[in-house]
Amino acid sequence: MGLTAFSTGFEVARNRTEDFDDSEKKIIALAGNPNVGKSTVFNALTGLKQHTGNWPGKTVESARGEYTHQKNDYVVYDLPGTYSIMASSAEEEVARDFICFYPHDLTVVVIDATCIERNLNLVLQILEANPKTLVCLNLIDEAKRNGITIDIERLSQNLGCRVIATNARDGKGLDALKKAISSLTESDGAIISYSPVSYKPYIQRAVDCLLPYCAKLSAGKLNASWLALKILDFDESFNISLKIHLNENNIDETLLDKAVQAARTYLEDNNIDENTLHDDIVSQIVLHAEELYLSCVQRTSAAKSSSRKIDKYVLSKSVGIPLMILLMCVVFYLTITGANYPSELLSALFGKIETVLLAFFVRLNAPSWLTSMLVEGVWRTLGWVVSVMLPPMAIFFPLFTLLEDMGYLPRIAFMLDPYFKKAGAHGKQALTTMMGFGCNACGVIGCRIIDSPRERLIATLTNCFVPCNGKFPAMIAIITLFFTPASLASGVSTALSALLLTALILLGIFITFGASKLLSKTLLKGVSSSFVLELPPYRKPQVGKVIVRSIFDRTLFVLGRAVMVAAPAGLIIWLLSNLTVGGASLLTHAAGFLDPFARVIGLDGIILLAFILGFPANEIVIPLIVMGYMAQGALTEISTMQLGTILVQNGWTWITALCVLLFSLLHFPCATTMLTIKKETGSVKWTLAAFFIPLLAGIIICFAVNMIATQFIF
C-alpha cells in the first residue's frame, strides 16, 4: 500500500475534526483493544448524540459523540479498536496519530478485566506517549464471575494513572468515570506520576541522542523519550505523520535528521538491526505488563472460563459445522417467513398513499402524463423496493448482529478458514459472505474487517455470488412454479422448494470459492497473508441495543442508498414503457433488440431487459417481467398463480426458469452494491471488475445450461 502524506492518519484526524467546532469543549480520545466493550462505553457516555462516518480517505470507521457533565461539554472520539499503536494497520495509524498529534485533553483506554495482561500492553504504550491517560477497567462483573480478583488500587498505583472499574452494559461505574474524566481534564495535578518502562541500556543511549530535539518537538504534550523511541523504531508511517506535524509547526527537520543519523550509527555500531530493536522495545513493554498483571490480579485456579467449555463443543469437528449450518438455516427461515407479513402491510400502506397522491394530483389539475409518471412511475417503484427490501433486512441484520454480539462470528471464521485458505482467501470472508445473504452492499462494507488488501479485494469482488434477500422471493416463486409439481402435498412441496433453494445457495457458495481461487491465481496473485484472529469470550447479547443499532447502522443506511437509486429508476422505467416510437413502447423496442442474444442464454428479451432495468434493486425484476409481457405502463402486483399463467403463456419452459434462476444468482451486483464497491475500493477498475466477473460467469453458465438442455434433453 503506497503511503502518501495525505493518506496518513494525522492528516485524517485533522480533516476529520475540522468539520466540528470543538473549541469550547474538552476533547476525549477513547482507545482500546477490539472486543473490550469500547463501543458500549462510548454509547453509554454519549447516548444518541453521535456522529458516525469514516476517517476521510480511509475505510476505517469513526464515531464522534458528545455529552455534558456538570455544565461542561465533552467530545468523545471513538478511536478504532487496536492491539497497539505501533501501526501495523490503517486502524492503528488512525489511533496512533490521534493520540500523538491531535490536541486532546485526555485519552481513556478501555480494557477488558477478563484479559488484563494483553490489554495492559496498549495501556503502557499510550501512557508512554502521553501520561494524560485514564484507564477504564470494563467488564468487571464478568471478571468476577470468572474468578478474577483485581486489586484496582494497586493497579492504579503501579501503572501511575487513574483506574476506574465499570460494567458499561448496565451503566455501572459510569458516573465515577465521568467524574474522573472531569477532574483529570480540569487540572493537571490529578495525574499520578507515571513510572516509565525501563528499556535496555543501549536503547536508552540511542534515545538520549535524540532527546534534546524531541523535547522541543513534543512541546510538553508528548513524552519526549517515547517520541525519540518511535522515531528510531523504523516505522515509516509514523515518520511521515511526524514530518507533516513538523512542517505545520515550522520546525526545521534538518537538525532532527542529523540527530537521527547519529543515533542510527550508534545502533549499527552495536550490531542492532531493525528486528532486534523492535523486539527489545516490545519485549520490555510486554514484560512490564506481565509484571503489573501478576502483582495486581489473582485468579482462583478452579475457575475456568465458561467460554472455553462452550468452545469445546462449538469448535469441535463433530458439532461445530452442523451447528453453524443449523443456525444459519434458522436465521434464513426467520428472515424469509417473518418478512412476508410486514411486507404486505408496507405494500398496502404505500398503495393507500398512492391513492391519496393520485387524488391530490387530480385536484391540482396536473396533466395526466405527469401524474402517471410521478405516481405510477417514481412512487410505485419506490414503494415496491422499500416494502420488499425493508422487512427482511430489519429481521436479518438484527439476528446477524446478535450472533456478532454473542461472539459467535469469529468462531465461524475459525471453522471455515481452512476452506477459504484453499481458495487463497481469508477466513473472515466467511462472515462477509454471510452478510451478503442479507445485503451485498452490507457484505461489501463488512469486508473492512479483513485487514490485508489482497484478501479484502477478493472478498469484495466475490460477495455478490451469494444471493441477497432481494433475490430470494423471486427465486422461491420460480422454484415453486416450475420445479415442484402441483400434485404434491403442500408440506412436501414446501420441503422440496426449500431443498432446491438450498441447492442454489450452495451453488453460489461453491462459485464464491471458485471465483476467489481464480482471482487469487490471476488478477490478485500473491501469497496468502497472515491470519491472526481473536476468539473473544462469549457474552450475553444486549438484545435491545443490538436491534436499535443494527437497524440504524445497517438497515436504514442500505435503505437510504436503495431509495436514492430506486426513485430515478422508477422514472426511467416509466419513460421506457410509456414513450412510443412507431406504435410500440421503447421498452418493447429494447426487448426486441436484446431478444436474439437473450435467447442464446436461455432467456428472452423482456427477461434480460428486466434484469438490466432491475439494476437499482433486484426486487423489481419479476414485476418488470410481468409489466413487459402485459405491455403495461406500470408495475402491478399479482398473485403467484397469475404469475405462473403469464409466464407460461409467454413461452417459459423449465429451461427458461432454470436459466432465470441461474442468471438471477449470477449477474452484475445491484446499483447500491456497485456504489458501495466504488466507495470502498476507491477504484473504477475494481468496480468494473465487480460488475463484469459475475456477469460473465452468468452468461457462460446460462449459455452452457441452455445448450446442453436444448441439444441433449429435447
Binding site: 494483553r118 523492535h278 505488563a289 467460554s307 472455553r308 485458505k421 491470519f531
Partner: protein
C-alpha cells in the same frame, strides 16, 4: 528441544523461544505478547491442523498453520 508451534497438541503448553517472522506479521505477533518466554496453551486444533486456537496472555488467538510454523517453542508439557 526447539520445535515449531504446530508441534503442540491440544491441551499442551509451551514457551516461546523465538519468532521466524518478519515485517508486519512479526509486529502483530509481538503485539499479541509473543515475546521470548511467553506461555502458549493449545486449546483447539482445527481441521487437518490447518488452523488452531491458542491461549496467549489471557486471550484466545487463532493462527494458521503457516504462521504458527514460524513460532519456535520449547519446554512442551501437558497442562491439566
Amino acid at each position: 528441544m526447539k520445535q515449531p508451534l504446530t508441534a503442540l497438541a491440544e491441551g499442551e503448553i509451551c514457551k516461546v523461544n523465538s519468532l521466524l517472522t518478519e515485517g508486519i506479521l512479526r509486529r502483530r505477533m509481538l503485539d499479541l505478547g509473543l515475546v521470548e518466554g511467553t506461555y502458549i496453551l493449545a486449546l483447539h486444533i482445527g481441521r487437518k491442523r490447518e488452523i488452531a486456537a491458542y491461549l496467549i496472555r489471557g486471550a484466545v488467538i487463532a493462527l494458521r498453520k503457516e504462521d504458527a510454523e514460524r513460532i519456535i517453542i520449547t519446554n512442551i508439557s501437558k497442562y491439566l
